[in-house]
Symmetry: C2
Subunit: 452 residues, 2 copies
């Protein structure tokens, strides 16, 4: 069979790149679990009617057909295009066996039949956290979801992340308090500030949301408020609008910002950004978006908010709040631009050299002693000259080569980067801690390493 | 929307059950990485022609169609039904960027549109390891793959596993040495010993493989040889057949058995079982199957072997050897029979109680001090009476409840299983090591726990 070519929109990683992805996934998982979020996986497919919103499927869903199906027809199943729809179904299906409030994380692939472009994929991995309750979900869940995701984003080997928070109640209360009768139209207009200049959005507010020139100006001034702490509240109040819903929205956003601004975050800035509305999504309170510095074209890489009804079976309603991180959307552009990879293509910290093929059992035994102490180790594939075995390690990024000794001479280990070679006992020698796992390589860290 | 019902063949786990699955996956991954196997993930879909063997697709493949596709036609993509076909494609596609011999593990879901039944699923997770080389792969790779998978199976929270090893060269050499002209037909007949009585298989050997009564008897006696070490070799030689290929097969199987019988395995027995032929699969040397005790109906849960050509692009051939473990096939029947789960539905080892809603920040701060030392912790969802908060922990299987003190009284922690309550400092107190993560619960471990 001929050499295969890549499928557009279905990114695949080389082993060293995959190490960077698993590093990120492990970091997320560890953070979510430290906060007591339970792991859930749902099946990859849902019945088509579950994937529909209001009777219609607006996403580019992949439908499944069994190749050998008698009828030749569709299976009635589509591949999930996000993790929210399947999670809502999981909650309804298993409600009797779950404890509420239910706090779960879910890291899985999703599929969309979209036209591929930078940062848009047909298969991609998402990491979602949600808290869902029966009937009522206290507001502190919004604060919790925000802080857990902010901690999870902190320290990732990616460019600076800008987490933007807003509150739809605040927007709606402001618009209604201002005298506008169609707050949803106002939100839709303001949401276009990304793409349109200020005066065009002002035009839209007047034409679509029925605003006067003063009202439109007030909406725009609200949308321009951005603070890194709870001080946005004073600036909103300076605009002089009063409404009960506005007060509640301000109070909620203050709580989220107070909690977030108290966190020791690394590489994550948090902004109360009163322009964020999350388009047409069905959020009702807190909303989140996240931009990655230097990659504005990707749009938001981590978004979410509060739903009054994440799920409902007609009798019981399950409100929820959650955030979804686009792992592939965030990492694959970095990997493809060569600004993220790892130091090696194998987990091995050590290559045990081979004196000759007959002594493979001795080399295996050394490897097992190292593995018994948690040191990933492989044995050379063939008994080439030592220079070639060292090259074998080098090509894979393995930092140490262990040379079996003989009765007259102890075993030795060489750090092939420095060339240092010392006597070593496989029961006690350890690599440097930072060499135990592949190191994540970013352009900054590569430059730092060279400067040493 | 109404309460959803399960989709047959698409198993989903509750959180406590999912903990058992992640425990197993983490154990496998740790073992594979300790041996230096690199992690690879391939996309979920392959072009249909890649999924065909000899021009035909004999598996029940799911084909993808874009719901909003203009033409309404198939995408030409099918979901992968195993991890071997996509791995072979990955090797060909990325050959120029991989280092050979290439040793990888791959833990992913696969899909088959089969009729669901016990142990047969439409979506299931597999864990594969393979070693693949360019042009030539030394035999020690067979030994390595066998020992790594045996170690990975060792200590899993499942019934005893019986790893059975054989060698196709040994079988072929024996049949040819015996004077049979169609060794493949003989292999197919012997492979039926699972389902047919001895004399019926004898009949088949005579009718389909052209064996005389004595030859058929020799084939059956070979198939009855089973040893836990390399002593099978003497018993094969006692049958008096001589052939070069037989000698090579015996020598290879001796090497595998010598390596396996030297491993300190827990819950895994290894047998050289000369009946195993792996049906019609394209194996050429070593073959593996694995039975789980008490679950014979599942068939083999972990199988594989040596391919002379895992992949080929016409110019270069890539021989390989690998084993595939059916994680879902092994675990879901245990979970559904109630013989495998975990001690809790959340990762949390500690629930921090809430004095009242106003003091949530203090409880959060205690939780953060515990998390900072790697202790998964959650804070009570509401400030109910302490009895109710303890019940909240109990329902989730959280072993400890931490009670915030006040200036007059230190914080305290209660082990809610024993009722013991002691003063505790969130910067130094630790749960028992075995309480840090959910404990895997098997019927045996549950009985042991009760006996304490």
């Amino acid at each position: 069979m001929s050499r295969p070519t890549p499928l557009s929109g279905f990114p695949e990683l080389l082993p060293a790149e995959r190490n960077a992805e698993t590093y990120v996934i492990d970091h997320l998982r560890r953070t979510f679990e430290l906060h007591g979020f339970a792991s859930v996986e749902t099946r990859a497919v849902e019945p088509l009617d579950r994937l529909a919103k209001g009777g219609e499927i607006d996403k580019e869903v992949y439908v499944l057909r069994r190749l050998h199906a008698d009828e030749g027809g569709d299976s009635g199943l589509g591949m999930h295009f996000d993790l929210t729809v399947p999670f809502a179904r999981y909650v309804l299906e298993h409600a009797g066996k779950l404890e509420f409030p239910f706090r779960r994380y879910q890291i899985q692939k999703v599929w969309r039949g979209e036209r591929p472009q930078e940062g848009r994929f047909r298969e991609f991995t998402q990491a979602d956290i949600d808290v869902v309750a029966r009937d009522e979900l206290p507001f502190h869940a919004d604060v919790e979801v925000a802080t857990v995701m902010a901690e999870a984003l902190s320290g990732l080997p990616v460019p600076n992340l800008h987490l933007q928070v807003n509150n739809r109640r605040l927007l709606e209360g402001f618009y209604v308090g201002l005298g506008l009768t169609d707050p949803a139209a106002a939100m839709r207009a303001v949401d276009k500030l990304d793409k349109l200049p200020r005066d065009k959005v002002g035009d839209l507010l007047r034409s679509d949301a029925g605003a006067s020139a003063d009202q439109a100006e007030a909406c725009l001034r609200l949308a321009e408020i951005r603070t890194h702490d709870a001080s946005f509240a004073d600036r909103v109040r300076e605009l002089g609008v009063k409404h009960e819903l506005l007060d509640r929205g301000i109070d909620e956003l203050v709580q989220v910002m107070d909690a977030l601004s108290g966190l020791p975050l690394e590489g994550v800035t948090v902004t109360a950004d009163l322009r964020i509305a999350r388009g047409l999504d069905y959020y009702t309170g807190t909303v989140f978006e996240t931009r990655m510095e230097g990659f504005d074209g990707l749009g938001s890489v981590c978004s979410g908010g509060r739903y009054d009804a994440l799920a409902s079976d007609g009798k019981t309603t399950y409100p929820g709040v959650g955030i979804s991180l686009g792992i592939t959307r965030m990492l694959v552009p970095l990997i493809h631009h060569g600004v993220l990879t790892s130091s090696r293509s194998v987990p091995s910290a050590v290559l045990v050299a081979l004196v000759d093929e007959a002594s493979r059992p001795q080399s295996n035994a050394i490897a097992q002693r190292l593995r018994a102490r948690g040191i990933p180790t492989e044995v050379a594939a063939s008994a080439q000259k030592y220079g070639k075995q060292i090259r074998y390690a080098e090509r894979r990024g393995i930092p140490y080569v262990f040379f079996p000794g003989d009765p007259a001479q102890p075993d030795q280990v060489k750090d092939i980067r420095s060339g240092d070679q010392v006597d070593a006992d496989a029961d006690t020698w350890r690599p440097r801690d930072e060499d135990l796992r592949p190191t994540i390589v970013t352009p900054e860290s590569a430059i730092e390493e060279q400067a040493k």
